[in-house]
Every structure is written in structure tokens, then in C-alpha cells.
């Protein structure tokens, strides 16, 4: 199963994602904002198989963190979690940052698991 780094500023959502993803057999690490995501990626011996990032986080957003990681040559697939419907790509960053897909809040977990399987399978 996959090693997933989850970035979200809400403790409860991190707990929810960790619980559901671990129940699916994934290995989960969490980060509270964009900077923590970057730190966690650099700290790890091998980069994770997938990043699951909230688009809006204080200090550094998921999008900004991703831009920095892509600039540093990190190529892992990324799913962006967004609280906006009709999700994402408002600024055409999908192609620019190589975003694999968007997940709307509230999260449809069956859909999320299917996307993860497709990206890490």
C-alpha cells in the first residue's frame, strides 16, 4: 500500500484522513501547513508515494508548498483537497504544477480511495 503525506490545518480532518487511509492499509504522515509539508518531504529518506494537500492553509498554502516542491524537483503525484465546489484549477495551475486531481470537501472517500489506487497502483 502507499505512503501518503497529508497536509491540512485542521486537526480533526487530519485525524479523519489518517483513520480512513490507515483503515485502507496506507501508511500516513501528517503536516499542519505548507511549510511542514515541505519539511516532511525533505526530512524523509525517500519521498512519499502521494501528497494529499489542502489548497488553503495558513502560513503556506498547499499550492505554494507544491510550487516550491516542484521547483526542487520533487515529482510525486499530488491530489489537492479543496473546500470549493466545481473543484479547483481556477488559475490554470493544474498543468503548471502537475496536479493529478482535485478532491472536494466534504470528502467522498470512495472516490478518494479510487483516485489513490489509480495514482499509486
Amino acid at each position: 500500500m502507499a505512503r501518503i503525506l497529508v497536509g491540512d490545518d485542521s486537526e480533526t480532518i487530519l485525524l479523519l484522513l489518517r483513520t480512513r487511509l490507515e483503515m485502507e492499509g496506507h501508511e500516513v504522515e501528517t503536516a499542519g501547513d505548507g511549510q511542514e509539508v515541505i519539511d516532511a518531504v525533505h526530512r524523509a529518506i525517500a519521498p512519499p508515494d502521494l501528497l494529499l494537500l489542502d489548497a488553503m492553509m495558513p502560513r503556506k498554502s498547499g499550492i505554494d508548498a507544491l510550487r516550491e516542491l516542484r521547483g526542487g524537483g520533487i515529482e510525486v503525484p499530488v491530489l489537492i483537497v479543496s473546500a470549493h465546489t466545481g473543484a479547483g484549477d481556477e488559475n490554470g495551475e493544474r498543468a503548471e504544477l502537475g496536479i493529478a486531481g482535485y478532491v472536494a470537501k466534504p470528502i467522498d472517500f470512495e472516490d478518494l480511495f479510487a483516485k489513490i489506487a489509480e495514482l499509486t497502483g
Binding site: S10, I13, G86, I107
Partner: protein, 388 residues
Amino acid sequence: MLAALAVIGVARFLQQRQDFENATARSYQVEIVARNRLAEGENPAAARTTISSQQSQRQFLRNDIDDETRDTALLVGAGLIAGLTGAALLFSGLIASMRRPLEDLVEASGRLASGDLETRVKVGGLSETAKLGAAFNEMAEELQRRAGERDQLDRMKDEFVLTASHELRSPLTSVQGFAELLMLEREMLTPKQGETLEVILDNTRHLVRLINDLLDLARSDAGRLTIRPVPTEVAGLVEEAARTMRAQVDARGQSLSLEVEPGLPEVEADPDRIRQVLVNLLTNANEYCQERASIRVTARRAGADVEIEVIDDGPGIPTEQLEHIFERFTRGNAGETQRVGGTGLGLAISTSLIELHGGTIEAESTLGVGSTFRFRLPGTARDRVGLS
């Protein structure tokens, strides 16, 4: 000035005419006296001389007055022409000095009406047109100021709706997520707890739908409801929408069948948005129809378009409700089933979405027989014709 001369000329002429008549009358009297003397045979030679001199004097006077009459007529004619020309020049000057500013005003009003609130006119010309111009500029100023305020309010409203929707969505994600987590372990709950959990989940989903619908509606009002049309297979969309609705349809023992004509042309559509419309229509059928109702989705070619129908054999919609069914916050009568959880916004949003696609949507219903909701999407072929 010439007109004044004419008046003086005419007065002088009238005086001369009077003099002429007096002189002529005197001359006749002298002649009559002379003729009387001649008749009496008294110094006939002198009388004859007097008669002929009076006759030639009158002839002279007549010639003189004829000349005067001609000159005066000429003078009056010239004065008249000069006066009329002067008046005409004066009027055309007046008209010209009004016409230009008025034309400017008409043009500026047109620009203002078509939304160019920066429009102003040059204030000038007669005092009346200058006042009109100044009043116009004042009005344009006021309109621009109000439009600015309204735009700002609109932006604040949009921002508020966006922020509120975002802020509500995060806690809702937790509520729904943890309730679902509990649901995964339903066998460990008592039946009562399981039912309670279902109520929580139902209401959470309803709240999410409301927030999504309100957000779409706010976007639609702001003209910011956007679609990203791509060539799309209708069959796939219909199947996905049916899959989304499967659990709710099964829960009510209803049947859901799909009849998609083979070889349908692709449509130019935003797949997420058309799926949303289909789910809206299917949700309505699911919630307003009785248990074990049958719901059908059909898709067929209609010229260059594709026509999609959601047909049910539910209770039907009364005519007076059917007329308003696409308006926002219109909701059907739930009847004895109190489970209808719609927002009253689904059909209004569906209409906006279908219209954004350049399509049409309509409803038919017969009480006790069922309802049909039908929409058309333009095929990709028609778009190409439109472009060429």
C-alpha cells in the same frame, strides 16, 4: 435696417400720394373754372391755355407719382426680402447653436444607456443647452457613483458567500467523515444508535447540498457560474449519475433503468455540471415518487442535439405548480412522505447550467401518471457548423 428704411419710405410715399391727390383735385378745379369761362365765351384763348396747361400739369404729377410708387414698391420689396433673410439667418444661427449640443446629448445618452458610465458631454452653447448638458453630467456622475457602490456590495456579497461556504465546509467535512466512520462499524452499534447515526448523516448531506446550491446560485447571480465544455459521451454521464443515485433509489425499492440510443453524437458539455443536473433530476424523482416507483433515463438524438429525459411514474405535478417549477425555492408537495430533503434550488440551478450550455430544459406532468423532465444539449457537430 433696410426694413426701417422701407417703413420710412412707405410713410413718405403715403404723404406724396396725399399731395398728388390734393394737387390733382386743385388742377381739376382750375380746369373746370377755365371750361366754364370758355363756355361763356369769355376770353376763350386764355381759358384754352389754362385747360391745356392744367392737363399737362396733371400728366406730369401722374408720371411723378407713378415713379414714386415704383420706387416705394421696390424699396418695400427689398426691405421685405432683407427682413426675411435676416430672420432666417437669425433662426438658423439659433438652431445651429442648439443642434450641436443636443446631438451630443442624444449620442451621450445612448452611450450611457449602453453602460458606458464614464460618458460626459461638453457643456456649452446657449444657456438652455448648457444647463441641460450640466444636468446630464450630474446624472451620469451619480449613476457612476451608485454603480460603483453596487459593484462593491456585490463583491462583498460574493466574497461573503464564498467565505461562508468555505468555512462551513470544513466542520461539515469532519461531521460527515466521522459519522461515516461510525457507520463503518454499524454492527457494533445498537439499532437505536444506528438509526440516530443515519439521521445525522442524512442531515449533514442535506446541509452540504444546501451550501453547494447556494454557492452555485450566488455564482449564477454574479454571472460567474462557469462551465468548461468538452466533447462528451452522454452514455457515460448517464451511467455515472445513475451510479451516484443507486443507493438512494434502492433504499426506496424504486427501479432505475437507462435507455441510451446507440451511436449518439458527442455533446459539447461540462461533464461535472451535466452530471449535477442529472443527479438533481434523479434526486427529485427519487424523493417525490412513492416507494417502488419506476424511474427511467432516456437519451436520444434530436437533429444535431441530444435529448435526455428523466421519466417517472410518480404522483405527478399539479399544473399551477408545474408553471413555477424552475423558479428558485419552489418545492413540490411532499404529501404524506415527509422525507423530501430538497433545497428548492436544484431546478433553478439546473436551468442556469443547461442554458449556459446553450440548451433548453422543460417539464411535463400528468397527475396520477407521472412526470417527465427533458433537456437538450447541442451536439458537437452543430458547434462546428456554427463556427464555420
